[in-house]
Amino acid sequence: MADRRLGPLRGAGANRRPRIGLTPPHPVCSGTGETRGKIRLDKPSDDELVAAVASGDEAACRALMDRHLTRMLALARRMLGNHADAEEVAQEVFLRVWTHAERWEPGKAQFGTWLHRVATNLCLDRLRRRRGTEDIDAIPEPASGEPGPDRQLEQRELAARVEAALQSLPERQRAAIVLSHYQGLGNIEAADILGISVEAVESLLSRARRQLRVALATEKDELLRSREISA
């Protein structure tokens, strides 16, 4: 299993003066992959941004948020089922980025993978705490009423039902499908984040999709019909 540690504590880094885009990127790591081995004055790597964050660079903080906050929020939304809880988790994720920025060692871990691991574990932790305070087997009541002529209303109702179906999944299946389908991560990265084998990821995904198909059997037809109408 990949080493999850960020590496040994570094010094306060008072002598480190990261300059966004001007520091040669580490040959192994890069925020996006395409910057490897190249100095990009216009697009710093995640590692460069994190180093600049550690030294209090507000522009680097905003850049890192522009790059990752929406995705982390989306991950949390699909895991937790509501925007308010998702924002709380996204906030916690970035507070941890701020706290750990000076200890971040380029090359020890991929920043994006670390971020996903943080967000996923915060969500799973929150879901476990929810257990016992509500009946998680009860599918949340979706928007009621027959789909009317209002196309936007139809779409919103469909969206709510998909969200409800996601919320009905067991936590690990939900995490697997969020990482794989919604976040677009490969099976190896998803396995690393969840701390399981790729075979286990595939098993979780198969079960998740099977359960979602059952939950959304009628919705599939509705979507197909609404697309045929609008075509």
């Binding site: 998702a86 943080v118 915060l122 198969s206």
Partner: protein
């Protein structure tokens, strides 16, 4: 690998990962794509998976609120900005400056003893409260307006994040 891809395995892949080859296991991707493009049954399987993926994509996700962004910016790490340059000669000069602020009459006239010490200490403490000698270095800080909760959260986790990497 090309020869080993079967319709059954392609079905397993699609049922787990969906219709997009970008999400399929990397090692099997090209073989799976080759079969998908050559087999009518595979194409039907994929067509259905495309529709299901589209349905899944309807799960809502909103943009971050401006309030969230601003809270995070307010809590960002601050660089250490000492008011006094970290050089010994100047540190001495700083203390001398404090001394002279307390007792401008010259050192020869300076009263000895605890009263003198108290005078200097009082001025030093009074001045220090206005001087942002940053002892926290690059530790994340939170400005007062973001609330106790955020401050506690930002400062609490000085240990490795492994405690929640379960």
């Amino acid at each position: 690998m090309q020869n080993e891809m079967t319709l059954e395995r392609l079905r397993e892949i699609v049922e787990a990962y969906g219709a997009s080859p970008a999400r399929w296991p990397h090692a099997e991707r090209s073989a799976a794509e080759a079969l998908a493009s050559s087999s009518p049954e595979a194409q039907a399987l994929l067509a259905e998976a495309v529709r299901f993926d589209a349905l899944l994509d309807m799960a809502p996700a909103e943009a971050p609120s401006a309030a969230l962004t601003e809270r995070l910016i307010a809590a960002r790490p601050r660089a250490a900005t000492p008011l006094v340059p970290m050089r010994r000669e100047t540190a001495k000069g700083f203390l001398r400056g404090l001394f002279e602020a307390v007792w401008p009459y010259g050192s020869a006239a300076f009263p000895a003893g605890t009263l003198a010490a108290a005078l200097v200490m009082g001025v030093a403490l009074g001045s220090a409260s206005d001087i942002s000698l940053s002892v926290t270095g690059n530790t994340a800080t939170a400005s007062a307006e973001t609330g106790e909760g955020m401050i506690a959260l930002a400062m609490a986790d000085q240990a490795w994040p492994e405690e929640w990497m379960q």
